[in-house]
Symmetry: C2
C-alpha cells in the first residue's frame, strides 16, 4: 500500500503534451539533456523515492520527532535515508555544476519533489528548502560567504532553514523584531525567537544553515527595515553557535518534520544581501518554495488517489446500478459516487501537474534563455501562476485527500490504511509559505490589478495560442480565457468605489484562474498523442464536475462588481 511514483504518467505529460525536451534543448546548459537522459533520471528518482523514502512514511507519523536536551531526533531511518539522498546527488539535482550540482533542469527537480511529498511529506521537508537557500546564497551572499557555504548547501551536505515567522509576526513579516547588531569584524550578532522553523534542529547533517529575517539597530519599522542574516548552527572553528531549539510543536500532522521554536542569543551571523533588502533576498527562496508546495499538494493528492483507487478495486459492497445482480456485490469502483471521486481527483492531479510542470519549465527558461524577452516572459508566467498553483493545488490536496478518505468509509478514519495521515499532513500546505488567502491577494491585488490586468492577459495569450479554435473544447477554453480578462477589468473598475472588494474576491478570482488553466490543460492532454482511456475519463470528469465552478465564480464576481445601490 506504499505510494509508488509512476514515471510513465509524468513522461506523457512532459513529452507528449508539453514537449519539454524540445524546449529544454533550446537552453544552453541543457543541450545534452535529451529525452532519454530525462527518462533515466526520472526512472532512478522513482526507484529511490519508492524504495527508500516511501517505506518510512508510517514511522515518520507514528514515532515522529523528539527533542531531548536540545537535540532533535528524527524518526527511525530518516538519517540513513537522507544520507542516501545526498549520496545519490538528489539535493543538487538542479544546482549548477560549478557549485557541485548536477546542472539538470528545474522541471525534473519539480517532479522529484512531487514524488517525495507523495511518498513521505515529513521527510521531504528536510531538503525542501535547500534549493531556495542555495539560490538565495548564490545570488545575494558575499564571495566569502559563498566560498564557505554555497557548495555544502548545493550538495545537501548541510541542510538549511528559512527563519521568518515570530510569535506576533506571521503573515505580517513587517512586524519581525529579531535584531542583528553589526560587529567590528564584519559579522552580526543575532538575537530573537523564531517559530514554525521546519528542520530548525535535527540529526540529519552536521551543520544547519539558518537564513534569518532580522532588523539592524537603525532600521526603519516595517518590511523595508528587514535584513537577512546567515547564521550557522556550527561555526567555522567547530564551535556551537548560540542557536537553540527551545521546543518542537505538537501538530495535527507532519510529525516526520520537526517544527522548531529557535532562540538566537547573540548568535554569530553574516548579512546576505544589502541591509533593508532582506525580503527581496528571501523572495528568491519563496517563489521556488511556493511552486514546490503546490507540487506537495499534487503529490499528496496522488498518494491519496493511489490508496483509494487500490481499495476501490478490492472492496465489494452492494450491486452497482446497471450491474448484474446475480454476480453479487460490485467493486466499489463501479459505484457512480466512487467513480466520480476517483476520476475527478485524477483530473486535478494530471491537470495540476501539467500547469505546475509548465511553470517549472518556465523557471528553467527564466534562468537560462539567451533572449532577455523570453526570460522576462517566463519570469512573468512564474510570478502570476505560482500563487495560483500554491493555493489551488494545496486546497485540492486537502479536499481531494478527504474525498479519497471517504472512499474507504469507516476504514478511512482509522490509522491502519494510512489515508488519514495524508489528510492531516496535507492540511499544513494550505498555510505555510504564505497562506492561501495571501496567495490570492498576491495574485489579484499585488500583481494583476496594478496594470488593470494587461500584463496577466499578455501572459495568458500563450495559452490561447496553443489551442485550436476549430475544436470544441479548445474553443471553450479560449472563451473562458476571454471571460477571465473581462472579469479582471470589471473588478478593477469596481474597486474604485469599493476598495475592499478585490480583497473579498481574491479567492474567487484565483479559483477562476485555476479552473481556466485546467480547461487549457485538459484540452491539451486529451488530444495529445498517447492519451489513454484514463485520460478520457478524467477529462470528462473535469468538464462535468470541476468546470462548472467557473460560472459560479464568475457569477459571484459579476454580482459583487455591480454598482452598489
Amino acid at each position: 500500500m506504499d505510494y509508488a511514483p509512476r514515471p510513465e504518467d509524468v513522461r506523457f505529460l512532459l513529452d507528449a503534451v508539453l514537449g519539454a525536451s524540445q524546449q529544454l534543448a533550446r537552453l544552453a546548459p541543457f543541450a545534452e539533456v535529451d529525452a532519454d537522459l530525462q527518462a533515466q533520471v526520472l526512472e532512478q528518482a522513482a526507484t529511490f523515492v519508492g524504495e527508500v523514502i516511501a517505506p518510512l512514511q508510517r514511522d515518520g507519523d507514528e514515532i515522529g520527532c523528539r527533542l531531548e536536551g536540545g537535540q532533535v531526533h528524527t524518526p527511525p531511518g530518516f538519517a540513513a535515508a537522507y544520507q542516501a539522498f545526498v549520496e545519490g546527488g538528489w539535493p543538487s539535482l538542479s544546482a549548477a555544476t560549478e557549485d557541485g550540482g548536477q546542472g539538470l533542469p528545474a522541471v525534473l527537480e519539480a517532479v522529484l519533489y512531487e514524488w517525495l511529498a507523495g511518498a513521505n511529506h515529513g521527510f521531504t521537508m528536510a531538503p525542501g528548502l535547500l534549493h531556495g537557500a542555495y539560490e538565495c546564497i548564490r545570488h545575494h551572499a558575499s564571495d566569502d560567504l559563498k566560498a564557505r557555504y554555497l557548495g555544502k548547501v548545493a550538495t545537501g551536505e548541510w541542510l538549511a532553514t528559512m527563519c521568518l515567522t515570530e510569535a506576533h509576526a506571521g503573515s505580517d513579516l513587517g512586524l519581525v523584531r529579531t535584531r542583528a547588531v553589526p560587529q567590528a569584524n564584519g559579522c552580526v550578532r543575532v538575537s530573537g525567537t523564531k517559530i514554525f522553523i521546519s528542520g530548525g534542529e535535527h540529526d540529519l547533517t552536521p551543520n544547519i544553515v539558518h537564513l534569518v529575517l532580522c532588523r539592524l539597530p537603525d532600521a526603519p519599522a516595517g518590511p523595508k527595515g528587514l535584513s537577512l542574516a546567515l547564521v550557522p548552527k556550527v561555526l567555522d572553528d567547530g564551535a556551537r553557535n548560540a542557536v537553540q531549539c527551545e521546543r518542537i510543536e505538537e501538530k495535527m500532522g507532519l510529525h516526520g518534520s520537526p517544527t522548531c521554536v529557535m532562540r538566537f542569543d547573540e548568535a554569530t551571523g553574516w548579512l546576505v544581501g544589502e541591509p533593508g533588502r532582506g525580503l527581496a533576498a528571501m523572495f528568491v527562496m519563496m517563489n521556488a518554495a511556493r511552486l514546490h508546495v503546490a507540487l506537495q499538494g499534487i503529490g499528496l493528492l496522488d498518494a491519496a488517489w493511489q490508496k483509494a483507487h487500490a481499495y476501490a478495486q478490492e472492496r465489494r459492497q452492494m450491486v452497482a446500478p446497471g450491474a448484474d445482480r446475480a454476480s453479487g456485490p460490485s467493486l466499489i469502483a463501479e459505484h457512480p459516487a466512487v467513480a466520480r471521486v476517483l476520476d475527478t481527483q485524477r483530473a486535478w492531479i494530471d491537470g495540476g501537474r501539467l500547469i505546475a510542470y509548465r511553470t517549472a519549465l518556465q523557471l528553467d527558461i527564466a534562468r537560462h534563455a539567451e533572449d532577455a524577452k523570453a526570460r522576462e516572459a517566463a519570469q512573468q508566467w512564474c510570478s502570476y501562476i505560482t500563487p495560483v498553483l500554491k493555493a489551488a493545488c494545496t486546497q485540492q490536496g486537502f479536499d481531494g485527500a478527504s474525498a479519497c478518505l471517504q472512499v474507504f468509509g469507516g476504514h478511512g478514519y482509522v490509522r491502519e490504511w494510512g489515508i488519514e495521515q495524508i489528510l492531516r499532513d496535507a492540511r499544513v500546505t494550505m498555510i505555510y509559505e504564505g497562506t492561501n488567502e495571501i496567495q490570492a491577494i498576491d495574485l489579484l491585488v499585488r500583481k494583476v490589478l496594478p496594470d488593470v490586468g494587461a500584463g496577466f492577459a499578455a501572459t495568458l495569450l500563450a495559452l490561447r495560442d496553443e489551442l485550436d479554435a476549430s475544436r470544441d473544447v479548445d474553443a471553450d477554453a479560449q472563451r473562458r480565457l476571454a471571460q477571465l480578462r473581462y472579469l479582471t477589468t470589471q473588478i478593477a473598475m469596481a474597486a474604485h468605489a469599493q476598495p475592499r472588494l478585490p480583497y473579498e474576491l481574491a479567492d474567487d478570482y484565483l479559483r477562476l484562474v485555476m479552473v481556466t488553466l485546467l480547461a487549457w490543460a485538459w484540452a491539451r492532454i486529451e488530444q495529445a498523442p498517447g492519451a489513454g482511456e484514463a485520460h478520457a475519463r478524467a477529462a470528462a470528469a473535469f468538464r462535468r464536475w470541476v468546470l462548472p465552478e467557473f460560472d459560479m465564480r464568475a457569477a459571484i464576481i459579476k454580482k459583487a462588481c455591480e454598482p452598489q445601490g
Copy 2:
C-alpha cells in the same frame, strides 16, 4: 477558550423564527411546556455543558481511551461527568415520563446534543445512541425485554450500542454474517465480530446494552434475512455475557470515544422485533441518530467558529484595506478574507440550525400530533430532510472547521489552540450513520424519484407558504423551490435512458436542496423580530458566497440530463 453554548442565539431561532412554543403547545404531552420552561431547560443545559463537559475536551483527545485486559478506560473525568449527566436527567430528556424520562420535546434534546458535540464530541458519543436504543426497545421489544431494559436505557443508567458493521459489511449491511441461533428457552446465542462499535466497552455504566444486527440460521441472504438481537454485557444474574472488546481503533480523532471491535461468542441475547425485520427495527434508531449527527456537524462548526472569532478579535496583522495606516496593524477580523470566513460559517450555523430545529419539531409532531395527517406530513418531512441535513451539515462541519482553522494561520495547525482537534473529530461525522454519499442516494434514489418528486414537492410547499412573495429574498427562495421541483422532474426523465445518472447526481441534488433550504432559512431569520446586526451580516454572506452554489449545481444537473449524443 472552551466552547460555551449560547442559549440566547438558539432561543431567537426557536421562538422568534420558528414559533416553537406555539407549535409544541398544540401537542398534548407538551401542553405545559411553555416558553419559560423551555428557556429554563436550555439555560440549565448550557450551564451543564459549558461547565462540566467542555473542560474535558482536551484530555479526551490527548489522553484518550485505553484497553487493558478487556477493560476500556475512558479519559480522566468522563466517568464522573457521565454520572452527573445521568443525575441531571439529561439522557432521559425526551423519554416518556412513564419510562422514567422527562417527557420534554425532541427539539430541546436536539439543542442539547448540538451543544454537547460542540463542547466535547468524544464524550457525546457515549449517550449519543441512547435515545435511539430507547425508541427501538420501546417500539419493537417484547414486554419482558422492556421490563428488564427499557427503564435503565431511558434514564441512561445503562448505555447502549448499535452493532451493525462487520469488516466486510459496511454500507452494505446485507452482507452481515453474525449468527443468532435460537435456544429452547427463548433466547438466542449470538456469534460474530462487529467493528466500529462506539462505546462497545467502557467504564461509564455497570451494564451495556448491545443491539446487534444478526442472521438466524434459516434466514435468506441479503438485508431481508437480518434480525436484531439485544445482547447485554452483563446478564440478569450478574454473570458476564460472552461479549468481548478485542481492540479499540487508532483513529484520526474522536479519541474520547472508544471505537471497539466486539466479539460475540455464543453470547446470550433476545430478538427485538420479528425475525427478518432487523433493519426496520434499526431504522427507528437511525433516523433520530442521523439528525443528531447533523447537529454534531453544526455544534462542531460553532465550536470552530467561536475559537476563530475570538482569535480574530485579538490577533493583529497588517493594515486592513480602508483602515487607518497610522493605527498600526488591524485586527485580523477586519481583513476581508477573515470576515468572509466568519460570516459565511455563521450563515451555515444559524441556517443549518433553523432547518435542523424545524426537523426536530417535526419529530415531536410526528410522535404526538392528534391528527393522523399532521403526523404523516411531519414524518414525511423528517424522511426527506434528515439525509439532507446529515450530509450537508457534517460536510460543512468539516469544511467550515477547516476554514476556521485557516484563520489561525500556522497556529491553527498546532495542538495548542484546540482547533485542529475539532477538524480531526469532525471528519468522522461525514462517514458514520451512513456515509454522506449514502444519504444522497437515500434522498434522491430511494425517496424522491420513486414518485417523480411529487411527495417531496408536496412536503416543500409548507416552506413556500411561509414566504412572502412581495419581498425580494422571499420571492427568490420561492423561485428556487420551483426550480428544484423542475430539476427533479428532469432527473426522473433522464434516468430512463441513463440508469446510473441519479447515482452520479445524488450529491449535487442534495446540495441543491440544502442551499434551497438555507435560502428559506435566511429569508425567515433576517426578517424575524429581534434579528440583529450579526444576522444581517450572515444573511448577506449567505447570499454572496453560499447561494451561488445553487446555480452551479443546477447547471451540472441540467447538463447531465441533456439527451446523450
